[in-house]
Amino acid sequence: MQLSSVELKLLRRFRKIYTIIAFLVSLAMAAVLLLTVFNLPAFGKAGNPAENEVIGRYIGKGLEETGAVNIVAAVILDYRAFDTLGETLVLFSALVAVIMLLKDEPGVFTRRYRERSQFEPEKDQIFRSVAALLIPCLLVFSIYIIVNGHLSAGGGFAGGAILGATFILYNIAYGIEKARRFLNEKSFLRFITAALLFYCIAKGYSFFTGGNHLPSVIPLGLPGSIFSGGLILPLNITVGIVVACVVYGAFCLFNRGGL
C-alpha cells in the first residue's frame, strides 16, 4: 500500500507543525525543570538532605552487617534487595516478551538460518584467531567482575553483560552450530529458570527470616575475601547468569529468530 500524494503533503505539513510543537514542548519542559533545579540543594556539597542517617548506617555498618566492601553491592543485594528482585523480573519479562514476539516457528527458523548463513563471517580465519585470543580473556574478565562484585566496582549486571557479549562473539566467530553444543534452547531455558529460582528462593528466605525477625544462619565470612558477604556472592553469580542468558538470548532472537 502506498500513500497518495495529497496525503503525503498533508503528512509533511503535519510534520512541520509537529516539529514546532516539539520544540516548544521541549523548551517549556526544560524551563520548568531548570527552575526546579535552581531551587535544589547545591551540587556536590556535603550536608545536603540526601546525606542522612540512612547513608550513615549503610557506610558505617554496611561491612559489619552484610560483609560487603562495595557498599553499592550491599545496598542493591541486601538492604534494598526487593528493588533488585524487581529489576531481575523486568529483565525476565522483557526476555519472555522478546521470545514471544521474535521466535520463529521451528521450520521457518531453519530455512531462514540456511538462507542467511552464507553471509556470516564463519570462514574468516583472521576473525576466528582474534576471537580465539579474545574469548578466554573476556571470560576471565567477566567472571572476575561477577565474583568480585562485593569487593570492587562491577557485579552481576556488568559482568553478566560482558559474559553475554563473550557468548555472542563465540557465536559469530564459530557459528551457531558450535554455540548450540553448550547453549541450545532447552538448556538456555533451564539455565535461566534455575538461576531465577535460586535467586527468588534465596531472597525469599532472607525476606522471610527478616520479616519475621528470625536470625539468618548464613555466615558473612571474613570481610575482604572472595568468600564473604553472605548471600551477596551467590546472588551476584546468579544475576550474572541471568543477564548473560538474556543478552545472548536477545542476540540470537534478533539475529535469527531462534536460539
Binding site: 526546579t36 542522612n52 526487593f82 523486568v90 519472555v96 521466535k103 525476606f207
Partner: protein
Amino acid sequence: MALAHNIPFISIMITILAAVTSLLADKNRAARLCIGALTVVAFLSAILFAYLWQTGTSFTFSMGHFPAPWGNELQAGLFEALMALTFTVVMILSLVAGRERVVADIAPSRQGMYYLLCSLLTCSLLALIYTNDIFTAYVFVEINTLAACGIVAAKDTGETITATIRYLVMSLLGSGLILIAVSLLYAITGHLLMNDLLSSMTELAASGDYAMPCMVIMLFLAIGLAIKSALFPFHTWLPSAHGSATAASSAILSGIVLKGYIILLLKIFYRVFGLSFARDLRVADLLFVFGLLGMIMGSVFAVREKNLKHMLAYSSVAQVGYIFMGIGLSTDIGMVAACFHILAHAITKPLLFLAADGLMDVSGHSKNIFNMQGAARRNILAGIAFTIGALSMIGIPMFSGFVSKFYFVQGSFQNPDKMLVTLIVLALSTVLNAMYYLPVLVTLYLSNDEQSPHRHRQSANSRNYQSVMIIFILLNFILGMFYEPVIKALEQGLLMLGGAH
C-alpha cells in the same frame, strides 16, 4: 507477630515463582500454574482481609533483615487487602472465562508465555498495592508496563502490534516522568520510604522550603500516573490497545491494570505528601478538571464508535474520569467514592468485555454493532450479562455503578466550590452513557433478522465461561445491594492509609 503478616510477601513470592516456573511448562500447564497460583493468592488475600477486619489494624513487613529506613518494606491495611483480593479474583475470572478465546486468538507456542506474563502482571500489581517504597513502586510499574504490553501483543495481528507500540510509547513517557519525579523527591528529602517521605514532606510544608520542586514533583507524578491510567487528554493509546487485544487481556487491562496506577497515586497522596499538603499543591484540582473532561469526552467518543470493543474501551476512559473526579473532589466521601468506583468498575468492565466476546462469538466474530442484531437471543447468558453490565455502568439502582454515583454526589456536597459542576457533569455523563449503551442493547435484542447469516448459530460457550458470567453478575448485585460493609472497609482502609492505626 501473627502469621497473617506474611501474606503480602507470600502472595508476591507465589506469583513470581509461578511466573518463573511456567517458562519451562507447556501451555496447558502454564495456564493451570497461573490460575492455581492466583487462586492461592486470592484465598490468602481473603484471609488477610478477614484478619485485618477483625483486628482493625494495619501492619508493616520488612523485606529483609533491616528495619524501616534502611531496607524495603511492605505495608498492608484494609484498603490494600481489599484491592488485592478484588484484583486477584477479577484476574482469575477473566483468565478462566477468556481461556477459549486465548486458545483461538493466540498461537499455541505463545500461550504459555501469555500466562507467564499474566502471573508477572499480578505480581507487579500486588507489589504496587503493598509496597511502601517509592522506588520499588517505580520498578514494579515497569514490570507492569512490560507485562501489559506483552499480553496485548500476544495476539499477533497488525492492529495489536501497532496498538502495543503506541501503548508502550505512552507508558514510557509516563515512566520517565515518574522516575524524574522520584529522583527530585530523593534530592530534596533523601528518602524513598513512604513513611520518612511523609515526615520530611510535612516539615517542608511547614517551613515552606522547596515549594517549587514539591509542586513539580507532584505534577509529574500525577501526570505520569495519569498517562498510564489513561486519564482524558492522555487516553489516546487506550482504545486501540484494549479494543484489539484478546478478550481476557481487554478485561484484565480495563478492569484492573489501569487501577493499579490509580492506587499508587492514592498512596502517593496519602503516604508521601500527606493529604492536606497534597491538596494545598492544587494538583488535585487539575485532576478534577481532567476527570470531568474525561467523563464527557470518553462518552462522546463512545457514542460515535461502531466497534463494540472500542466503545467499551472509550467507556473505560469515561470511568477513569469518574475515579479521578472523585479524587479531585478533595473530600473524604469523594475519595471513598473513587475507591468504590475502582471496585465497581473492576467487576463491571471485565463482565462487559467478556460478554461482548460471547456476543461476537455468535455473530461471526464481527466487532461491528450492526452485525450483532439479535445476538443476545442467540447467546442468552452473554446477553443478560451485557445488559447487567451496561445498566450498572449507566447507574441504575441495584447495581454497583449506581452506588458509586450516589457517593460521588454525596462527596460533591462536602465541597461547595465544586458541587454544581460535579452534579451537572454527572448528570450529563449518565445521559451520555445511556445514549451509547441503550442502542446497543436494543440492537442486541432485536429479533433475528431473516437475512442474518448467523441466524441459526447457537452459543457454544463452555461451562467455565457460563459460571464466570454468573459469578460476575452476582458480584455486581452484591456490590450494588450490600455495599455498606464495603464502604465501611474502604473508609477504615483509607484512614489506615493515611497513617491511623
